[in-house]
Protein backbone atom coordinates (compact mmCIF):
# COMPACT_ATOMS: atom_id res chain seq x y z
CA UNK A 1 0.00 0.00 0.00
CA UNK A 2 1.29 3.40 -0.89
CA UNK A 3 2.12 6.01 1.71
CA UNK A 4 1.02 8.83 -0.59
CA UNK A 5 -1.71 10.81 1.15
CA UNK A 6 -4.83 11.91 -0.67
CA UNK A 7 -6.12 15.45 -0.37
CA UNK A 8 -9.85 15.61 0.03
CA UNK A 9 -11.97 18.72 -0.41
CA UNK A 10 -15.53 18.76 0.93
CA UNK A 11 -17.92 21.67 1.15
CA UNK A 12 -19.81 20.93 4.34
CA UNK A 13 -18.96 19.84 7.82
CA UNK A 14 -21.70 17.25 7.58
CA UNK A 15 -19.96 15.79 4.50
CA UNK A 16 -16.61 15.84 6.28
CA UNK A 17 -17.67 14.18 9.51
CA UNK A 18 -17.98 10.57 8.27
CA UNK A 19 -14.64 10.85 6.44
CA UNK A 20 -12.92 12.28 9.51
CA UNK A 21 -14.16 9.35 11.55
CA UNK A 22 -13.35 6.74 8.95
CA UNK A 23 -9.80 7.94 8.32
CA UNK A 24 -9.21 8.87 11.93
CA UNK A 25 -8.29 12.43 11.03
CA UNK A 26 -7.19 15.05 13.53
CA UNK A 27 -7.80 18.78 13.28
CA UNK A 28 -4.75 20.82 12.42
CA UNK A 29 -4.10 24.53 12.13
CA UNK A 30 -7.24 25.84 13.81
CA UNK A 31 -6.21 29.42 13.00
CA UNK A 32 -6.33 28.92 9.22
CA UNK A 33 -9.04 30.21 6.89
CA UNK A 34 -10.42 26.71 6.37
CA UNK A 35 -10.86 23.80 8.74
CA UNK A 36 -8.22 21.24 7.98
CA UNK A 37 -7.79 17.66 9.16
CA UNK A 38 -4.99 15.20 8.72
CA UNK A 39 -4.28 11.50 9.09
CA UNK A 40 -2.02 8.82 7.66
CA UNK A 41 -3.94 8.32 4.41
CA UNK A 42 -5.80 11.57 3.91
CA UNK A 43 -5.70 15.28 4.54
CA UNK A 44 -9.03 17.01 4.31
CA UNK A 45 -10.21 20.57 4.06
CA UNK A 46 -13.74 21.89 4.54
CA UNK A 47 -14.23 24.53 1.90
CA UNK A 48 -17.72 25.88 2.34
CA UNK A 49 -20.25 25.98 -0.47
CA UNK A 50 -19.49 27.05 -4.03
CA UNK A 51 -16.90 26.99 -6.79
CA UNK A 52 -14.77 29.82 -5.47
CA UNK A 53 -14.66 28.38 -1.97
CA UNK A 54 -13.64 24.95 -3.30
CA UNK A 55 -10.86 26.46 -5.40
CA UNK A 56 -9.61 28.60 -2.53
CA UNK A 57 -9.65 25.72 -0.07
CA UNK A 58 -7.77 23.49 -2.51
CA UNK A 59 -5.14 26.19 -2.98
CA UNK A 60 -4.89 26.61 0.76
CA UNK A 61 -4.44 22.87 1.30
CA UNK A 62 -1.79 22.73 -1.42
CA UNK A 63 0.15 25.52 0.26
CA UNK A 64 -0.20 23.87 3.67
CA UNK A 65 1.12 20.63 2.22
CA UNK A 66 4.32 22.39 1.18
CA UNK A 67 3.15 22.59 -2.40
CA UNK A 68 4.12 18.98 -3.04
CA UNK A 69 2.79 18.10 -6.48
CA UNK A 70 1.40 14.89 -7.99
CA UNK A 71 -0.79 14.01 -5.04
CA UNK A 72 -4.31 12.59 -5.31
CA UNK A 73 -7.08 15.18 -5.03
CA UNK A 74 -10.66 14.11 -4.45
CA UNK A 75 -13.70 16.33 -4.22
CA UNK A 76 -16.44 14.56 -2.30
CA UNK A 77 -19.92 15.91 -1.74
CA UNK A 78 -23.60 15.67 -2.38
CA UNK A 79 -25.59 16.64 -5.47
CA UNK A 80 -28.94 16.33 -7.15
CA UNK A 81 -29.94 14.17 -10.09
CA UNK A 82 -33.16 13.87 -12.03
CA UNK A 83 -33.40 10.09 -11.97
CA UNK A 84 -30.71 8.49 -9.81
CA UNK A 85 -31.96 7.41 -6.43
CA UNK A 86 -30.88 9.19 -3.31
CA UNK A 87 -27.72 7.60 -1.96
CA UNK A 88 -26.32 6.60 -5.36
CA UNK A 89 -22.59 7.34 -5.66
CA UNK A 90 -21.02 8.53 -8.90
CA UNK A 91 -17.55 9.31 -10.15
CA UNK A 92 -17.37 12.29 -12.52
CA UNK A 93 -16.39 11.53 -16.12
CA UNK A 94 -17.15 15.09 -17.17
CA UNK A 95 -17.34 18.28 -15.18
CA UNK A 96 -19.35 21.12 -16.66
CA UNK A 97 -19.36 24.65 -15.37
CA UNK A 98 -22.96 25.56 -16.08
CA UNK A 99 -22.45 29.31 -16.16
CA UNK A 100 -19.57 29.41 -18.62
CA UNK A 101 -20.06 26.13 -20.47
CA UNK A 102 -16.48 25.14 -19.73
CA UNK A 103 -15.95 21.38 -19.61
CA UNK A 104 -13.27 19.14 -18.14
CA UNK A 105 -12.87 15.40 -18.64
CA UNK A 106 -11.16 13.72 -15.67
CA UNK A 107 -9.16 10.83 -17.13
CA UNK A 108 -9.59 7.52 -15.39
CA UNK A 109 -6.81 4.96 -15.30
CA UNK A 110 -8.45 2.44 -12.99
CA UNK A 111 -11.66 0.45 -13.11
CA UNK A 112 -14.23 2.71 -11.45
CA UNK A 113 -15.73 1.06 -8.37
CA UNK A 114 -18.93 3.08 -8.87
CA UNK A 115 -20.92 4.31 -11.85
CA UNK A 116 -19.69 7.36 -13.72
CA UNK A 117 -21.67 10.43 -14.68
CA UNK A 118 -21.48 14.02 -15.78
CA UNK A 119 -21.24 16.51 -12.94
CA UNK A 120 -22.66 19.95 -13.56
CA UNK A 121 -21.60 22.78 -11.30
CA UNK A 122 -24.20 25.47 -10.72
CA UNK A 123 -24.10 28.67 -8.71
CA UNK A 124 -27.46 28.23 -7.07
CA UNK A 125 -29.31 25.19 -5.82
CA UNK A 126 -30.68 23.31 -8.81
CA UNK A 127 -34.34 22.44 -8.94
CA UNK A 128 -34.89 21.64 -12.60
CA UNK A 129 -32.39 18.80 -13.10
CA UNK A 130 -32.67 19.37 -16.83
CA UNK A 131 -29.81 17.16 -17.98
CA UNK A 132 -28.60 13.71 -17.15
CA UNK A 133 -26.03 15.04 -14.69
CA UNK A 134 -25.38 15.36 -11.01
CA UNK A 135 -25.90 19.02 -10.09
CA UNK A 136 -23.69 20.41 -7.37
CA UNK A 137 -21.74 23.57 -6.57
CA UNK A 138 -18.01 22.88 -6.21
CA UNK A 139 -16.51 20.56 -8.82
CA UNK A 140 -15.87 23.22 -11.49
CA UNK A 141 -13.91 25.27 -8.96
CA UNK A 142 -12.08 22.29 -7.53
CA UNK A 143 -11.11 20.55 -10.76
CA UNK A 144 -9.22 23.19 -12.77
CA UNK A 145 -7.49 24.40 -9.61
CA UNK A 146 -6.21 21.03 -8.48
CA UNK A 147 -5.30 20.01 -12.05
CA UNK A 148 -2.60 22.67 -11.67
CA UNK A 149 -1.18 20.82 -8.69
CA UNK A 150 -1.34 17.25 -9.97
CA UNK A 151 -1.59 15.36 -13.21
CA UNK A 152 -5.26 15.02 -14.13
CA UNK A 153 -5.33 11.25 -13.57
CA UNK A 154 -4.99 11.98 -9.85
CA UNK A 155 -7.88 14.42 -9.67
CA UNK A 156 -11.31 12.87 -9.17
CA UNK A 157 -14.78 14.01 -8.18
CA UNK A 158 -17.18 11.78 -6.23
CA UNK A 159 -20.75 12.80 -5.61
CA UNK A 160 -23.51 11.15 -3.60
CA UNK A 161 -26.99 11.81 -4.90
CA UNK A 162 -28.98 13.61 -2.23
CA UNK A 163 -31.93 15.18 -4.02
CA UNK A 164 -33.95 15.20 -7.18
CA UNK A 165 -37.39 16.00 -8.56
CA UNK A 166 -38.99 13.80 -5.91
CA UNK A 167 -36.78 14.84 -2.99
CA UNK A 168 -36.30 18.57 -2.67
CA UNK A 169 -32.89 19.83 -1.57
CA UNK A 170 -34.71 22.11 0.87
CA UNK A 171 -35.46 19.19 3.10
CA UNK A 172 -31.83 18.18 3.53
CA UNK A 173 -30.49 18.36 7.06
CA UNK A 174 -26.90 18.03 8.21
CA UNK A 175 -27.80 14.74 9.82
CA UNK A 176 -29.25 13.43 6.58
CA UNK A 177 -26.19 14.53 4.59
CA UNK A 178 -23.88 12.74 7.01
CA UNK A 179 -26.05 9.67 6.79
CA UNK A 180 -25.90 9.71 2.99
CA UNK A 181 -22.13 10.07 3.05
CA UNK A 182 -21.81 7.27 5.61
CA UNK A 183 -23.96 4.98 3.48
CA UNK A 184 -21.47 5.25 0.58
CA UNK A 185 -18.30 5.55 2.60
CA UNK A 186 -16.89 2.29 1.26
CA UNK A 187 -17.25 3.55 -2.31
CA UNK A 188 -15.65 6.88 -1.45
CA UNK A 189 -12.82 5.11 0.32
CA UNK A 190 -12.37 2.83 -2.70
CA UNK A 191 -11.98 5.79 -5.07
CA UNK A 192 -9.55 7.47 -2.68
CA UNK A 193 -7.62 4.22 -2.33
CA UNK A 194 -7.31 3.61 -6.05
CA UNK A 195 -6.29 7.16 -6.76
CA UNK A 196 -3.65 6.85 -4.05
CA UNK A 197 -2.38 3.67 -5.67
CA UNK A 198 -2.01 5.47 -9.00
CA UNK A 199 -0.15 8.28 -7.26
CA UNK A 200 2.05 5.68 -5.59
CA UNK A 201 2.87 4.14 -8.96
CA UNK A 202 3.76 7.54 -10.30
CA UNK A 203 5.97 8.27 -7.33
CA UNK A 204 7.83 5.00 -7.80
CA UNK A 205 8.82 6.04 -11.31
CA UNK A 206 10.49 9.21 -10.08
CA UNK A 207 14.22 9.00 -9.49
CA UNK A 208 15.36 9.18 -5.87
CA UNK A 209 18.66 10.91 -5.89
CA UNK A 210 20.61 11.83 -2.79
CA UNK A 211 22.41 15.01 -3.77
CA UNK A 212 22.98 16.28 -0.22
CA UNK A 213 26.34 14.55 0.33
CA UNK A 214 27.58 16.00 -2.94
CA UNK A 215 26.38 19.48 -2.06
CA UNK A 216 28.12 19.27 1.30
CA UNK A 217 31.41 18.42 -0.33
CA UNK A 218 31.52 20.86 -3.21
CA UNK A 219 29.85 24.14 -3.99
CA UNK A 220 27.37 23.86 -6.86
CA UNK A 221 25.54 26.76 -8.46
CA UNK A 222 21.79 26.43 -8.99
CA UNK A 223 22.31 25.31 -12.59
CA UNK A 224 25.03 22.91 -11.53
CA UNK A 225 22.77 21.45 -8.84
CA UNK A 226 20.14 20.74 -11.45
CA UNK A 227 22.71 19.10 -13.70
CA UNK A 228 24.12 17.08 -10.80
CA UNK A 229 20.69 15.75 -9.95
CA UNK A 230 19.99 14.81 -13.54
CA UNK A 231 23.36 13.13 -14.07
CA UNK A 232 23.07 11.14 -10.85
CA UNK A 233 19.53 10.09 -11.74
CA UNK A 234 20.65 8.87 -15.15
CA UNK A 235 23.75 7.16 -13.82
CA UNK A 236 21.71 5.27 -11.23
CA UNK A 237 19.74 3.74 -14.09
CA UNK A 238 22.62 2.79 -16.35
CA UNK A 239 25.35 1.99 -13.79
CA UNK A 240 24.45 0.05 -10.62
CA UNK A 241 27.58 1.41 -8.92
CA UNK A 242 25.85 4.78 -8.66
CA UNK A 243 23.04 3.36 -6.55
CA UNK A 244 25.48 3.42 -3.65
CA UNK A 245 26.01 7.10 -2.85
CA UNK A 246 29.14 6.53 -0.74
CA UNK A 247 30.79 4.49 -3.48
CA UNK A 248 29.86 7.07 -6.09
CA UNK A 249 31.25 9.88 -3.93
CA UNK A 250 34.45 7.96 -3.36
CA UNK A 251 35.03 7.81 -7.10
CA UNK A 252 35.01 11.59 -7.24
CA UNK A 253 36.78 12.22 -3.92
CA UNK A 254 39.94 13.74 -5.37
CA UNK A 255 38.16 16.24 -7.63
CA UNK A 256 38.71 19.90 -6.78
CA UNK A 257 35.36 21.48 -7.60
CA UNK A 258 31.84 21.07 -8.87
CA UNK A 259 32.83 21.65 -12.49
CA UNK A 260 35.27 18.75 -12.34
CA UNK A 261 32.70 16.57 -10.59
CA UNK A 262 30.11 17.21 -13.27
CA UNK A 263 32.65 16.56 -16.02
CA UNK A 264 33.56 13.25 -14.40
CA UNK A 265 29.93 12.22 -14.05
CA UNK A 266 29.30 13.11 -17.67
CA UNK A 267 32.28 10.97 -18.66
CA UNK A 268 30.96 8.13 -16.54
CA UNK A 269 27.62 8.38 -18.29
CA UNK A 270 29.17 8.28 -21.73
CA UNK A 271 31.65 5.51 -21.03
Amino acid sequence: MTSVRARVVVALWSEARPLIDRFDLRAVDSEGPFRRFSGDAVTLVVSGVGRAAAAAAAGYLFACERRVRERPWINVGIGGHRSLVSGEAILADRVIEHGSGRVWYPPLVFEPPIRTSTVCTVDEVEREYADDAVYEMEAAGFYPTTARFSTAELVQVVKIVSDGPKASPDGLTAKHVSKLMSSRLDDIVAVIGRTREVAGELELTQPRVATAPWLERWHFTVTQKRRLRRLLARLRVVDPAFRDTDAALARAAELPDATAVLARLQEDLES
Partner: protein, 335 residues
Protein backbone atom coordinates in the same frame (compact mmCIF):
# COMPACT_ATOMS: atom_id res chain seq x y z
CA UNK B 1 -8.00 -9.31 -30.81
CA UNK B 2 -9.15 -5.74 -30.25
CA UNK B 3 -7.79 -3.82 -27.31
CA UNK B 4 -10.03 -3.50 -24.32
CA UNK B 5 -11.67 -0.09 -24.52
CA UNK B 6 -13.66 0.92 -21.47
CA UNK B 7 -14.28 4.54 -22.32
CA UNK B 8 -15.12 6.18 -25.64
CA UNK B 9 -15.30 9.94 -26.09
CA UNK B 10 -17.44 10.92 -29.04
CA UNK B 11 -17.31 14.33 -30.64
CA UNK B 12 -20.85 15.65 -30.91
CA UNK B 13 -20.30 16.29 -34.64
CA UNK B 14 -19.66 12.60 -35.38
CA UNK B 15 -22.12 11.04 -32.97
CA UNK B 16 -24.33 10.00 -35.88
CA UNK B 17 -21.53 9.22 -38.32
CA UNK B 18 -21.96 5.65 -39.60
CA UNK B 19 -18.31 4.85 -39.01
CA UNK B 20 -18.52 6.15 -35.44
CA UNK B 21 -21.66 4.13 -34.83
CA UNK B 22 -19.98 1.02 -36.20
CA UNK B 23 -17.03 1.51 -33.87
CA UNK B 24 -19.32 2.06 -30.89
CA UNK B 25 -21.09 -1.17 -31.70
CA UNK B 26 -17.81 -2.99 -31.22
CA UNK B 27 -17.55 -1.72 -27.65
CA UNK B 28 -21.08 -2.08 -26.29
CA UNK B 29 -19.95 -2.09 -22.67
CA UNK B 30 -17.74 0.96 -22.95
CA UNK B 31 -18.79 4.13 -21.21
CA UNK B 32 -19.63 6.82 -23.79
CA UNK B 33 -18.89 10.44 -23.11
CA UNK B 34 -19.87 13.22 -25.44
CA UNK B 35 -17.32 15.95 -26.09
CA UNK B 36 -17.09 19.08 -28.22
CA UNK B 37 -13.74 18.79 -29.93
CA UNK B 38 -11.31 15.96 -29.36
CA UNK B 39 -8.62 18.41 -28.29
CA UNK B 40 -10.60 19.17 -25.13
CA UNK B 41 -9.76 15.65 -24.00
CA UNK B 42 -6.60 14.87 -25.90
CA UNK B 43 -4.62 18.09 -25.75
CA UNK B 44 -5.30 19.16 -22.18
CA UNK B 45 -2.20 19.95 -20.19
CA UNK B 46 -1.46 18.07 -16.97
CA UNK B 47 -1.99 14.60 -18.37
CA UNK B 48 0.37 11.71 -17.87
CA UNK B 49 0.98 9.55 -20.93
CA UNK B 50 2.54 6.77 -18.86
CA UNK B 51 -0.44 6.48 -16.51
CA UNK B 52 -2.97 6.72 -19.33
CA UNK B 53 -1.22 3.93 -21.21
CA UNK B 54 -2.60 1.56 -18.55
CA UNK B 55 -6.16 2.22 -19.68
CA UNK B 56 -6.36 4.28 -22.83
CA UNK B 57 -9.70 5.57 -23.97
CA UNK B 58 -10.80 5.89 -27.56
CA UNK B 59 -11.81 9.27 -28.98
CA UNK B 60 -13.96 9.37 -32.10
CA UNK B 61 -13.43 12.62 -33.90
CA UNK B 62 -13.49 14.52 -37.14
CA UNK B 63 -10.38 16.00 -38.70
CA UNK B 64 -10.98 19.32 -40.36
CA UNK B 65 -7.68 20.42 -41.80
CA UNK B 66 -4.10 19.34 -42.44
CA UNK B 67 -5.40 15.95 -43.48
CA UNK B 68 -2.50 15.18 -45.76
CA UNK B 69 0.90 16.73 -45.08
CA UNK B 70 4.38 16.67 -46.59
CA UNK B 71 6.48 13.99 -44.87
CA UNK B 72 9.42 15.17 -42.79
CA UNK B 73 12.63 15.66 -44.78
CA UNK B 74 14.65 12.51 -45.17
CA UNK B 75 11.55 10.33 -44.95
CA UNK B 76 10.92 8.40 -48.12
CA UNK B 77 11.14 5.10 -49.96
CA UNK B 78 11.87 6.17 -53.46
CA UNK B 79 11.90 9.13 -55.70
CA UNK B 80 8.96 11.45 -55.88
CA UNK B 81 6.96 13.35 -53.33
CA UNK B 82 6.37 12.06 -49.83
CA UNK B 83 3.29 12.79 -47.77
CA UNK B 84 1.69 11.39 -44.67
CA UNK B 85 -1.80 11.25 -43.28
CA UNK B 86 -3.07 10.11 -39.92
CA UNK B 87 -6.50 8.62 -39.64
CA UNK B 88 -5.49 7.77 -36.10
CA UNK B 89 -3.30 9.18 -33.36
CA UNK B 90 -1.44 6.89 -30.95
CA UNK B 91 -0.84 3.19 -30.93
CA UNK B 92 -1.87 0.15 -28.94
CA UNK B 93 1.76 -0.89 -28.48
CA UNK B 94 4.02 0.63 -25.89
CA UNK B 95 7.47 1.04 -27.42
CA UNK B 96 9.77 2.95 -25.17
CA UNK B 97 11.63 4.64 -28.01
CA UNK B 98 8.46 5.85 -29.73
CA UNK B 99 8.30 9.59 -30.32
CA UNK B 100 4.51 9.61 -29.86
CA UNK B 101 5.12 9.52 -26.08
CA UNK B 102 6.92 12.81 -26.40
CA UNK B 103 4.66 14.33 -29.01
CA UNK B 104 1.27 13.80 -27.37
CA UNK B 105 0.14 14.67 -23.87
CA UNK B 106 -2.40 11.85 -23.83
CA UNK B 107 -2.13 8.13 -24.52
CA UNK B 108 -5.76 7.93 -25.60
CA UNK B 109 -6.38 6.79 -29.16
CA UNK B 110 -7.96 9.27 -31.51
CA UNK B 111 -9.75 7.88 -34.55
CA UNK B 112 -10.78 10.37 -37.22
CA UNK B 113 -13.84 8.84 -38.80
CA UNK B 114 -14.22 11.21 -41.76
CA UNK B 115 -12.19 9.07 -44.16
CA UNK B 116 -13.89 10.71 -47.14
CA UNK B 117 -12.20 14.00 -46.29
CA UNK B 118 -8.85 12.22 -46.22
CA UNK B 119 -9.62 10.81 -49.67
CA UNK B 120 -10.43 14.29 -50.97
CA UNK B 121 -7.25 15.71 -49.56
CA UNK B 122 -5.12 12.89 -50.96
CA UNK B 123 -6.80 13.24 -54.35
CA UNK B 124 -6.07 16.96 -54.41
CA UNK B 125 -2.44 16.24 -53.58
CA UNK B 126 -2.20 13.67 -56.36
CA UNK B 127 -3.68 16.18 -58.80
CA UNK B 128 -1.36 18.93 -57.63
CA UNK B 129 1.68 16.78 -58.35
CA UNK B 130 0.27 15.14 -61.43
CA UNK B 131 3.65 14.69 -63.09
CA UNK B 132 5.27 13.03 -60.12
CA UNK B 133 5.00 9.80 -58.24
CA UNK B 134 3.55 10.44 -54.80
CA UNK B 135 4.07 8.30 -51.69
CA UNK B 136 1.56 8.46 -48.87
CA UNK B 137 2.59 7.16 -45.46
CA UNK B 138 -0.21 6.09 -43.18
CA UNK B 139 1.69 4.86 -40.14
CA UNK B 140 3.39 7.98 -38.92
CA UNK B 141 1.18 8.84 -35.92
CA UNK B 142 -0.18 5.35 -35.33
CA UNK B 143 0.26 1.71 -36.32
CA UNK B 144 -1.66 1.35 -39.58
CA UNK B 145 -2.91 -2.17 -38.93
CA UNK B 146 -2.97 -2.75 -35.18
CA UNK B 147 -6.53 -1.49 -34.75
CA UNK B 148 -7.71 -2.37 -38.23
CA UNK B 149 -10.50 -4.57 -36.93
CA UNK B 150 -11.94 -1.43 -35.34
CA UNK B 151 -10.99 1.20 -37.89
CA UNK B 152 -11.56 -0.69 -41.14
CA UNK B 153 -8.62 1.26 -42.50
CA UNK B 154 -7.44 -1.35 -44.99
CA UNK B 155 -10.88 -2.06 -46.38
CA UNK B 156 -11.38 1.64 -47.09
CA UNK B 157 -7.98 3.00 -48.05
CA UNK B 158 -6.53 0.18 -50.12
CA UNK B 159 -9.38 0.23 -52.69
CA UNK B 160 -9.05 4.02 -52.79
CA UNK B 161 -5.37 3.74 -53.73
CA UNK B 162 -6.19 1.03 -56.25
CA UNK B 163 -8.18 3.71 -58.07
CA UNK B 164 -5.11 5.99 -57.99
CA UNK B 165 -2.34 3.84 -59.39
CA UNK B 166 0.15 6.69 -59.62
CA UNK B 167 0.11 7.12 -55.87
CA UNK B 168 1.76 4.72 -53.46
CA UNK B 169 0.41 3.82 -50.05
CA UNK B 170 2.67 2.66 -47.26
CA UNK B 171 0.90 0.72 -44.54
CA UNK B 172 3.40 0.66 -41.68
CA UNK B 173 2.91 -1.75 -38.82
CA UNK B 174 4.23 -4.05 -36.17
CA UNK B 175 0.94 -5.89 -36.11
CA UNK B 176 0.09 -9.32 -37.40
CA UNK B 177 -3.54 -8.32 -38.06
CA UNK B 178 -3.37 -8.95 -41.79
CA UNK B 179 -6.81 -10.50 -42.32
CA UNK B 180 -8.19 -7.48 -44.14
CA UNK B 181 -5.23 -7.44 -46.51
CA UNK B 182 -5.57 -11.14 -47.15
CA UNK B 183 -9.22 -10.62 -47.99
CA UNK B 184 -8.35 -8.14 -50.71
CA UNK B 185 -6.61 -8.62 -54.00
CA UNK B 186 -3.05 -7.31 -53.70
CA UNK B 187 -2.58 -3.97 -55.43
CA UNK B 188 0.67 -2.95 -57.11
CA UNK B 189 0.96 0.46 -55.43
CA UNK B 190 0.78 -0.51 -51.78
CA UNK B 191 3.69 -1.48 -49.55
CA UNK B 192 3.01 -3.24 -46.29
CA UNK B 193 6.01 -2.27 -44.22
CA UNK B 194 6.91 -4.02 -40.98
CA UNK B 195 9.18 -2.52 -38.37
CA UNK B 196 11.77 -4.56 -36.53
CA UNK B 197 14.34 -4.11 -33.82
CA UNK B 198 16.63 -6.91 -32.57
CA UNK B 199 15.13 -9.58 -30.33
CA UNK B 200 16.69 -8.10 -27.19
CA UNK B 201 15.21 -4.68 -27.90
CA UNK B 202 11.88 -6.27 -28.72
CA UNK B 203 11.89 -7.94 -25.31
CA UNK B 204 12.99 -4.85 -23.40
CA UNK B 205 11.38 -1.98 -25.24
CA UNK B 206 8.36 -3.09 -27.25
CA UNK B 207 5.53 -3.96 -24.85
CA UNK B 208 2.64 -5.62 -26.60
CA UNK B 209 4.34 -5.97 -29.97
CA UNK B 210 3.98 -9.44 -31.54
CA UNK B 211 7.16 -11.53 -31.57
CA UNK B 212 9.52 -11.17 -34.51
CA UNK B 213 8.71 -14.67 -35.72
CA UNK B 214 4.97 -13.95 -35.87
CA UNK B 215 5.53 -10.76 -37.80
CA UNK B 216 7.69 -12.67 -40.25
CA UNK B 217 4.96 -15.26 -40.63
CA UNK B 218 2.50 -12.51 -41.44
CA UNK B 219 4.89 -11.07 -44.00
CA UNK B 220 5.36 -14.42 -45.67
CA UNK B 221 1.59 -14.84 -45.94
CA UNK B 222 1.24 -11.39 -47.48
CA UNK B 223 4.02 -12.12 -49.95
CA UNK B 224 2.17 -15.26 -50.95
CA UNK B 225 -0.86 -13.09 -51.66
CA UNK B 226 1.22 -10.86 -53.88
CA UNK B 227 1.62 -7.81 -51.61
CA UNK B 228 4.73 -5.68 -51.76
CA UNK B 229 6.61 -5.81 -48.48
CA UNK B 230 8.72 -3.24 -46.76
CA UNK B 231 11.25 -3.63 -43.97
CA UNK B 232 11.76 -0.79 -41.56
CA UNK B 233 14.70 -1.01 -39.20
CA UNK B 234 13.78 2.17 -37.51
CA UNK B 235 14.93 3.16 -35.02
CA UNK B 236 18.35 1.55 -35.13
CA UNK B 237 19.37 1.08 -31.51
CA UNK B 238 22.91 1.33 -30.29
CA UNK B 239 24.42 -0.95 -27.66
CA UNK B 240 27.73 -2.61 -26.86
CA UNK B 241 26.88 -5.62 -28.94
CA UNK B 242 24.73 -3.97 -31.59
CA UNK B 243 26.65 -5.69 -34.39
CA UNK B 244 25.78 -9.11 -33.01
CA UNK B 245 22.15 -8.14 -32.43
CA UNK B 246 21.55 -6.70 -35.88
CA UNK B 247 23.48 -9.48 -37.61
CA UNK B 248 21.23 -11.99 -35.89
CA UNK B 249 18.09 -10.00 -36.70
CA UNK B 250 18.99 -9.72 -40.39
CA UNK B 251 19.80 -13.41 -40.57
CA UNK B 252 16.43 -14.25 -39.02
CA UNK B 253 14.51 -11.88 -41.25
CA UNK B 254 16.14 -12.78 -44.54
CA UNK B 255 16.08 -16.50 -43.86
CA UNK B 256 12.28 -16.21 -43.93
CA UNK B 257 11.38 -13.53 -46.43
CA UNK B 258 11.31 -13.85 -50.19
CA UNK B 259 13.56 -10.99 -51.28
CA UNK B 260 11.67 -10.59 -54.55
CA UNK B 261 8.64 -9.41 -52.57
CA UNK B 262 10.61 -6.61 -50.99
CA UNK B 263 9.77 -3.18 -52.27
CA UNK B 264 12.03 -1.26 -49.91
CA UNK B 265 14.23 -1.49 -46.87
CA UNK B 266 14.66 1.61 -44.79
CA UNK B 267 16.55 2.29 -41.62
CA UNK B 268 17.33 5.24 -39.44
CA UNK B 269 19.04 5.74 -36.11
CA UNK B 270 17.24 6.57 -32.88
CA UNK B 271 16.67 10.32 -32.86
CA UNK B 272 14.22 12.58 -31.17
CA UNK B 273 13.39 16.26 -31.14
CA UNK B 274 14.78 17.64 -27.90
CA UNK B 275 11.43 18.63 -26.39
CA UNK B 276 10.01 15.15 -27.13
CA UNK B 277 13.04 13.59 -25.47
CA UNK B 278 12.67 15.78 -22.39
CA UNK B 279 9.03 14.82 -22.02
CA UNK B 280 9.82 11.14 -22.50
CA UNK B 281 12.64 11.26 -19.97
CA UNK B 282 10.32 12.85 -17.41
CA UNK B 283 7.81 10.06 -18.02
CA UNK B 284 10.34 7.25 -17.95
CA UNK B 285 13.42 8.34 -15.97
CA UNK B 286 13.94 4.68 -15.10
CA UNK B 287 14.39 3.67 -18.75
CA UNK B 288 18.04 2.95 -19.65
CA UNK B 289 17.47 3.88 -23.29
CA UNK B 290 16.55 7.42 -22.23
CA UNK B 291 18.86 7.70 -19.23
CA UNK B 292 21.90 6.45 -21.14
CA UNK B 293 24.44 8.49 -23.07
CA UNK B 294 22.77 10.64 -25.68
CA UNK B 295 23.99 13.68 -27.47
CA UNK B 296 22.05 16.92 -27.84
CA UNK B 297 22.84 18.93 -30.93
CA UNK B 298 20.59 21.90 -31.45
CA UNK B 299 17.04 20.65 -31.23
CA UNK B 300 17.87 16.98 -31.75
CA UNK B 301 18.80 14.27 -29.27
CA UNK B 302 20.64 11.30 -30.74
CA UNK B 303 23.43 8.84 -30.14
CA UNK B 304 25.84 11.37 -31.60
CA UNK B 305 27.39 11.41 -35.02
CA UNK B 306 30.08 8.85 -34.38
CA UNK B 307 27.77 6.19 -33.00
CA UNK B 308 25.14 6.91 -35.61
CA UNK B 309 27.70 6.38 -38.35
CA UNK B 310 28.84 3.13 -36.75
CA UNK B 311 25.26 1.91 -36.69
CA UNK B 312 24.38 3.07 -40.18
CA UNK B 313 27.53 1.77 -41.82
CA UNK B 314 27.31 -1.59 -40.15
CA UNK B 315 23.64 -2.07 -41.00
CA UNK B 316 24.10 -0.83 -44.54
CA UNK B 317 26.91 -3.29 -45.08
CA UNK B 318 25.06 -6.19 -43.50
CA UNK B 319 21.84 -5.49 -45.37
CA UNK B 320 23.85 -5.40 -48.57
CA UNK B 321 24.52 -9.09 -48.08
CA UNK B 322 20.83 -9.82 -48.54
CA UNK B 323 19.18 -7.18 -50.68
CA UNK B 324 20.20 -4.97 -53.61
CA UNK B 325 21.21 -1.43 -52.72
CA UNK B 326 18.61 0.03 -55.05
CA UNK B 327 15.93 -0.69 -52.48
CA UNK B 328 17.84 0.72 -49.49
CA UNK B 329 16.48 3.95 -48.12
CA UNK B 330 18.35 5.26 -45.13
CA UNK B 331 16.22 7.76 -43.25
CA UNK B 332 18.39 10.84 -43.19
CA UNK B 333 16.95 13.34 -40.82
CA UNK B 334 18.62 16.70 -41.31
CA UNK B 335 20.70 18.05 -38.38
Amino acid sequence: MSPSIQRVYVEEAVSEHPRALAVLERFPKAEQISCGRYGEVFNRKAQNFRLQKQRPALILAEKFDRLCLPAPKGYGIGSGRNFYFSHMLNCIYDCRYCFLQGMYLSANYVLFVNYEDFFDSIERTIEEFAQEECYFFSGYDCDSLALDSVTGFVEEFVPFFFRHPRAWLEVRTKSTRIEALQALEAIPNCVVAFSFTPAEAHADLEAGVPPIERRLEAMVKLAECGWWLGLRFDPLLYGDDFEKRYKSLFETVFSRLPVESLHSVSYGPFRLPRDFYERMYRLYPDEPLLAGPLDTQGRTVSYGREREMELLEFCHQELGRYVPEEIFFPCRVPE
